[in-house]
């Protein structure tokens, strides 16, 4: 049984507590608003911490030093150096570090990974990803979601790109770009295009993920997964919703990795690989040119 500590506050904690009964061999033994609060009481017993909000490097180091496994949301707020150091520390301490909230375990993408793994799609040639969200938090959201997007692309190609070209715009006038396009090329000849916008009006976002392989293709697209609701005038397209399943799958994978003493699905190395590409994206935007980097399989 993996004893879990939930670190965070608000509705998200309640939501996760309600999901944990669906996880095999796991229970929540403690909830705390912060890492400091969690570690302040020496009587608390837990094996692993789930951080619901982006944590600082110091918090993560404290938990790892205490021998606690870590599931925390992938975020651009940790530098590549901090991710590297944290990954090294976790390895030395023998604790599992998993980056969560990456979309790897979203149901539509799980089906895509299974098809890829079974060889049905052949050699990946193209990954095409659109992710659009609302204008509620421009700037930061674009960068954060880019990490998630890059993680998905790198997982398909199983390699780092050799060429990166990116362009960005501030459409709604914010200081940070609220629109971004990333174009990646890989040694194998594979390529990827990501466009990320945070300019939609309030409401649902849009996500589309396609993989074109040498012998098949997968199309995971919100456009295909909408139902119609009629309330007068034009009908409204409504998503069928399976957000909880991805969160359950994230925690389940984390617990399995701990129990099986293996690396989690999205490790520090995966996070670091995506973070390095984010840095290259920024370099390309600033220079207005394509940036060549050492590609190949991530170490």
């Amino acid at each position: 049984m993996v004893r879990l500590a939930l670190v965070g506050d608000g509705e998200r904690v309640e939501q996760l507590i309600s999901l944990v009964p669906r996880i095999e061999d796991a229970e929540v033994t403690v909830c705390a608003a912060s890492v400091d609060q969690l570690l302040a009481d020496e009587r608390t017993t837990f094996d692993a911490a789930i951080l619901l909000a982006t944590a600082g490097a110091g918090d993560c180091e404290q938990l790892a030093s205490a021998g606690k496994h870590l599931l925390l949301p992938i975020s651009s707020q940790l530098s590549t150096e901090a991710i590297q150091a944290l990954g090294d520390q976790c390895q030395q301490q023998g604790v599992c570090l998993m980056a969560g909230g990456t979309d790897r375990l979203v149901p539509a993408l799980q089906a895509t990974w299974q098809s890829l793994a079974a060889g049905e799609l052949g050699e990946p040639g193209l990954v095409r990803l659109h992710r659009w969200s609302t204008a509620e938090s421009p700037g930061v959201a674009v960068t954060d979601d880019l990490l998630r997007d890059l993680d998905l692309v790198l997982n398909v190609c199983q390699a780092l790109p050799t060429d990166v070209y990116a362009v960005a715009r501030s459409v709604l006038g914010a200081a940070e770009p609220d629109y971004l396009q990333v174009h990646l090329g890989f040694d194998s000849g594979a390529m990827a295009l990501i466009d990320r916008s945070s300019t939609l009006p309030p409401g649902d976002g849009y996500f589309s993920f396609s993989v074109i392989g040498s012998s098949g293709a997968a199309y995971a697209d919100d456009h295909l997964n909408k139902q119609l609701v009629f309330r007068g005038e034009h009908p409204v397209a409504v998503g069928t919703g399976s957000d909880d399943l991805a969160a359950v799958a994230d925690i389940q994978e984390f617990c399995h990795a701990i129990q099986q003493q293996r690396a989690a699905l999205v490790s520090a190395a995966d996070w670091l690989a995506a973070a390095k590409i984010v840095a290259t994206v920024s370099e390309s935007i600033a220079s207005g040119s394509a940036v060549s980097i050492a590609g190949g399989r991530p170490s």
């Binding site: 095409r128 659109h130 390529m191 293709a217």
Partner: protein, 369 residues
């Protein structure tokens, strides 16, 4: 140059070596009448055979002399659907004779030929239409939504243009020492499946063969010229593309006028990769919303026992592209207006394609000339 007497335009089909969708499309409009098929006498037998077959189907004569046919049959419109490298030359000869031109894609295999055609069309004052799909129902709907301001000011556009067709054996299937099939022989053989869009002697990748369609959509919807591109290109699927070093998969970053950004994904991705002709989608982002458009819709799903594997399960309906293109062409002639994809826009798109191919080779962004 006008059809004063009958209201009809007499059309010469000037070479028809593919599956004839352009002259068939022209004939879909009641004001355009196919009266003769013609080509140069020195063409190879397979060209004459296809021209003759089309002439027989429409019960019109086949004349192996282009100049004579244009004169003798009182022709006002030339419909050019030859091998790609002959497109411009045949169109130029028609334009120089004062005859309007409807031409198959690509505009040409070379930019200098596009320039020569553009100059001739503009000097002669004839009307020119590059065949396109801009009047598909989905495109018309998208354009209306944009023009009505439903998504605010457009700032980005993305087009996926995947043809789920095979182009011969898959990459890696040619045994060591086995001879390379010539591009032309491959295209001639592909005629039976309709996958001969690149017919001609000069090998062409998907950007050249099909690029006019998605880039035409972008121009039609936003009216913005592409200024700079970054592209990745590869032969990922088919042996014939790998053998002739032309891409069957490409991605292009587009930087356009009015600060608009965009991307294009294009590929001949193989018949196994989609149940129908292919995933073709258009995404437009605006300052106040966005559009996600499936080019195939409206469509009807039809399934039945013993349905052939190669038959599309989803059939497009409400297709009026052929008629609307030719109505646009007729109006351009009648009112001395421009066509929906004229020689200047065709030249601009060819320039974008050429820049993308160069970018794919160099790995650097390239300005469109």
């Amino acid at each position: 140059m006008t059809a004063e007497n009958t209201g009809k335009f007499r059309c010469a089909v000037v070479s028809v070596v593919k599956h004839g969708y352009v002259p068939r499309g022209v004939a879909a409009h009641p004001r355009f009448q196919l009266v003769v098929v013609t080509d140069d006498a020195d063409q190879p037998d397979w060209v004459h055979e296809r021209n003759q077959a089309f002439a027989d189907e429409f019960d019109i004569p086949y004349v192996k002399n282009v100049q004579q046919a244009l004169q003798d049959y009182d022709v006002q419109v030339a419909v050019v659907s030859s091998e790609a490298e002959r497109h411009c030359e045949l169109s130029i000869r028609a334009a120089e004779a004062g005859i309007h031109v409807v031409q198959d894609k690509p505009m040409s295999t070379s930019i200098s030929e596009c320039d020569r055609l553009l100059a001739t069309v503009e000097q002669s004052g004839v009307k020119f239409l590059m065949w396109n799909r801009n009047y598909l129902p989905a495109l018309l709907h998208a354009r209306q939504a944009i023009e009505e301001g439903q998504i605010g000011q457009p700032y980005a556009i993305h087009v996926d243009f995947y043809f789920a067709k095979d182009s011969g054996p898959p990459k890696g299937s040619r045994a060591e020492g086995e001879p390379v099939t010539s591009w032309l022989d491959h295209q001639i053989a592909a005629h039976v499946t309709g996958a001969d869009g690149g017919v001609g002697k000069e090998p062409m990748g998907e950007l050249k063969i099909e690029g006019i369609y998605p880039l035409g959509y972008i121009q039609f919807l936003l009216g913005a010229r592409v200024q700079r591109v970054f592209a990745r290109t590869t032969a990922h699927f088919h042996q014939v593309n790998a053998d002739h070093d032309v891409e069957d998969l490409a991605t292009v970053t587009l930087e356009m006028e009015q600060d608009i950004l965009g991307t294009l994904c294009i590929g001949r991705i193989g018949a196994a990769s989609h149940p129908d002709i292919g995933e073709i989608k258009i995404h437009v982002l605006g300052s106040q919303g966005a559009l996600v458009i499936s080019e195939a819709r409206p469509e009807v799903a039809i399934y039945y026992r013993d349905q052939p594997a190669e038959e599309f399960r989803h059939r497009r309906v409400g297709m009026d592209n052929d008629y609307l293109l030719m109505e646009n062409f007729a109006q351009a002639i009648d009112q001395d207006g421009s066509t929906v994809l004229d020689a200047r826009v065709g030249r601009e798109i060819s320039g974008t394609v050429q820049a993308a191919i160069e970018s794919g080779r160099t790995g650097k962004p390239v300005d469109v000339v």
